[in-house]
């Protein structure tokens, strides 16, 4: 128990902070923060598997998050039949062409010895393939995008339940990670960071500009939800009764029936939003707990020991007969798949898919700060990092405002510097995160909760 004391204290402080937000601001805000903290925690688990267990730098977290989000659209949105009939066939042919290009290249790589001739052959396969793709897809894309462009204009998805799309997100992200891992994992650490960052940018730019796939920057709104809708809840009798019972003391103080009804209506509206968020919290919390149990088990299994051995000394691990390349690829895929789940969770929580919002700052670097601040190689630490950094990220503006007001209180209200600072209060979050990262890197490089090796 004693060895967990610091973990428990750290988490208690964190939850007290969130509860304080609930008391002082509102429960709805506190739950929103908590939900995002849980989503961030899933992302940090993924990043921590790659960086903490295996020492692989993946600056492409944004790309996998976006793919997870895309999965929600592709799996859960109802198919647009008209678009399928206009361009579905051509698009299917395109998929077949892409697969055959890949097979053809693999075949040439295997059968023909490395030579100039082989390079030309591969180049011509790619060029002919791309030309074919352009010719076949162009009319189909035009057709699909002209089907009710204001509402659909894309192929739609499979119409499956939204929870299945989370698994779909994991598989999409894993697929990309497989390709990226095959290509880039041989690179030195900082090259790998840059390469993954750039590949993620390519992925996001494809999602942004291929409107037939997921409407691009026009966004997909009104996605399915695993939780009930507020508006339905407000009309459900058991929920109204429940709110009435819960607030019976407050309601009893009001005498007039009309006022009582109005009060009750307001309470029901605010309670419905809290209830929906609680549903999400329960769902996310179960995902976090399942992943935490699995990753903890893995970390202290023989496989986890092998990963740490590879991380700490690749050559020695290789000399002991461990297949370093294969294990790196495996862990790269696993970590990315978890990030894909987080991406899907986030889009489900928001109820909309906005490809334009995927930026490396928010979805790569902040996640990395979370992992490093929390504690690399320690799952509890990484999750705590997700909570702390996200909390700071959201609450930075109010905190900054408080300090600005404190330090400029001697200045008149209309003082230019004061007004300017108050207007730019929201940018202090970058400052806080940056300075926080620098301080942690300097004075506690192992993070708030350092890695713990349990020896049996």
């Amino acid at each position: 128990m004693k060895q967990y004391a610091n973990v428990i204290t750290a988490y208690l402080i964190m939850f007290t902070l969130i509860i304080m937000v609930g008391v002082f601001q509102s429960w709805s805000i506190a739950l929103t923060i908590l939900n995002y903290c849980l989503i961030s925690a899933v992302m940090t688990i993924g990043a921590n598997i790659q960086w903490g267990y295996a020492g692989l730098i993946n600056f492409g977290i944004m790309g996998y998050t976006a793919l997870g989000g895309l999965a929600v659209v592709l799996f859960s949105v109802a198919p647009v039949d008209e678009a399928w009939s206009v361009g579905g066939l051509n698009m299917m042919i395109c998929v077949v062409i892409i697969i055959s290009i890949v097979i053809a290249i693999r075949y040439t790589l295997k059968k023909i010895a490395p030579s100039k001739k082989r390079n030309y052959l591969i180049a011509s396969i790619i060029i002919i393939g791309i030309l074919l793709l352009r010719i076949i897809s162009a009319p189909a894309i035009e057709g699909i995008e002209s089907v009710e462009p204001a509402k659909t204009g894309f192929l739609g998805g499979l119409g499956l339940p939204v929870l299945i799309s989370w698994i779909g997100g994991a598989f999409l992200a894993a697929g990309l990670a497989f390709v990226v891992g095959k290509v880039a994992l041989g690179l030195r650490a900082d090259y790998l960071a840059i390469a993954t960052l750039l590949i993620a940018e390519i992925v996001v730019s494809i999602i942004k500009h291929e409107d037939w796939l997921a409407r691009g920057v026009k966004n997909v709104i009104g996605l399915k939800r695993p939780a009930p809708y507020e508006i339905d809840l407000q009309r459900t009798q058991w929920f109204i009764d429940f709110v009435e019972k819960f607030h019976s003391g407050k309601l009893a103080l009001i005498n007039s029936a009309a006022e009582k009804q109005e009060m009750l209506n307001q309470l029901v509206i605010s309670a419905s939003s809290v209830y929906v968020k609680l549903c999400f919290t329960g769902l996310f919390l179960s995902v976090v707990i399942i992943l935490l149990v699995l990753t903890q088990k893995a970390l202290y299994s023989p496989w986890g020991r092998m990963m740490r051995a590879i991380r700490d000394n690749e050559e020695a691990a290789g000399a002991m007969g461990k297949n370093v390349v294969k294990q790196h690829l495996l862990i790269f895929i696993l970590g990315s798949a978890i990030v894909g789940i987080a991406g899907a969770m986030m889009v489900t929580n928001d109820g909309l898919f906005t490809p334009g919002s995927y930026r490396p700052m928010r979805y790569t670097f902040v996640i990395w700060v979370m992992v490093i601040v929390g504690g690399t190689g320690n799952n509890f630490g990484a999750i705590l990092g997700g909570f702390v950094v996200w909390f700071l990220w959201v609450e930075a503006a109010p905190i900054a405002l408080f300090f600005i007001n404190l330090f400029t209180s001697h200045l008149p209200e209309t003082n230019e510097i004061r007004v300017h600072l108050i207007n730019s209060a929201s940018y202090f979050r970058f400052l806080m995160i940056g300075i926080g990262l620098l301080i942690i890197m300097r004075f506690r490089p192992q993070g708030i909760l350092p890695e713990k090796i349990i020896k049996n």
């Binding site: 590949i199 940018e201 390519i202 730019s205 202090f428 940056g434 620098l438 890197m441």
Partner: protein, 336 residues
């Protein structure tokens, strides 16, 4: 005649813009490569440091304009270069003193320094946004064009015009001057030689009595000059917006790696490789082909290999290909 027109179309819409954009990238890429070669880490704060220098140029330009100082047909921003550079170097040296020096002395792995530079990136971005805000700003003044399309048409009687914006001319000329001085410094002076020696083999350089502190100081000074000039030229040509500068970091990295990281010549050429590839692959050649092909063969589509939305994706794909087949870059950089 049609042939000349076709060449003019290419010059106007691909070659001159690519040369300009390439120069801006080249300056940034040399900055990245110097830091990588001598201080031995990938600096993720590159884009934001360039933005930081440019911010001072923007503010000073507004100040000078309010005082009524200007350069006539040249943009006022040119006078601000020395002041902005000075502020930039001061900032870089402060950051180095308080942040990077500790890890350099401890001989931390490059990955850790790269992580630290992410922290610097956050802080720099915050400072910029707090001082100047995230909005788009233009600070270009003076004469807009060196050569206008209509004047050119009148002069030569051709149906296709040639436009050269003054920012394009200034960018190319200033880049050439700055880069030549830097190469002269690196190759001909004693300090430059000691920098190259330090980059090639740190231990040997220390053994032969080279002062590492001086090398680091000079590196930051050169990096500061290049970063500020690159940032100002980009801002003059397009406009100044902090977020765009952050994004520019990515093609700049691509240019530095494609050219062979740690190799300043490679970085210089890499900038142009990336710029030309981006623009040539996303340009619609319809007008070009209408001039050179006989009328019966005239194309009816845009003849565009990739849509302009994929401009960035092109440079990243080149980078990935180079990393796969020639990780030391086209022009042989360091294989650290």
């Amino acid at each position: 005649m049609d042939f000349i027109n076709a060449i003019l179309v290419l010059l106007n819409f691909t070659i001159i813009p690519a040369l300009t954009y390439g120069s801006q990238l080249a300056l940034g890429a040399i900055f990245v490569t110097l830091i990588y070669g001598i201080l031995r880490f990938a600096n993720f704060a590159t884009g934001d440091m360039m933005s930081f220098g440019t911010m001072f140029a923007v503010l000073l330009t507004y100040y000078f304009q309010s005082l009524g100082i200007n350069l006539g047909i040249f943009p006022t921003a040119l006078i601000t270069i020395p002041f902005a550079t000075f502020m930039m170097i001061l900032y870089m040296l402060t950051i180095d003193k308080f942040v990077f020096e500790y890890y350099r002395i401890k001989k931390s792995p490059p990955v850790q320094l790269a992580m630290v530079s992410v922290g610097v990136m956050f802080v720099t971005q915050a400072i910029i946004r707090i001082i100047i805000g995230p909005t788009d700003r233009t600070f270009m003044d003076g004469e807009k064009f060196i050569l206008k399309a209509s004047e050119f048409k009148d002069m030569t009687g051709l149906s296709e015009g040639l436009t050269i914006k003054s920012t394009q001319g200034i960018t190319i000329i200033v880049t050439l001057i700055a880069v030549s001085i830097m190469f002269w410094f690196l190759n001909k002076t004693k300090t430059g030689t000691s920098m190259r020696a330090y980059s090639d083999n740190e231990d040997l350089a220390l053994l032969s009595g080279i002062d590492p502190k001086k090398v680091v100081l000079i590196t930051w000074i050169i990096a500061g000059i290049l970063a500020t000039i690159g940032g100002i030229l980009y801002g003059l040509d397009k406009s100044y917006r902090p977020f765009v500068y952050f994004n520019n970091m990515l093609p700049i990295f691509a240019a530095a790696i494609v050219g062979g990281i740690g190799n300043p010549y490679g970085a210089f050429l890499g900038g142009y490789v990336i710029a030309f590839a981006e623009i040539f692959l996303t340009y619609a050649y319809k007008r070009f082909f209408t001039y050179i092909l006989p009328e019966s063969l005239e194309p009816n589509s845009m003849i565009q290999l990739l849509s302009t939305d994929y401009k960035f994706a092109v440079s990243f794909s080149i980078l990935v290909i180079v990393l796969l087949f020639r990780p030391s870059g086209i022009f042989k950089g360091k294989t650290l």
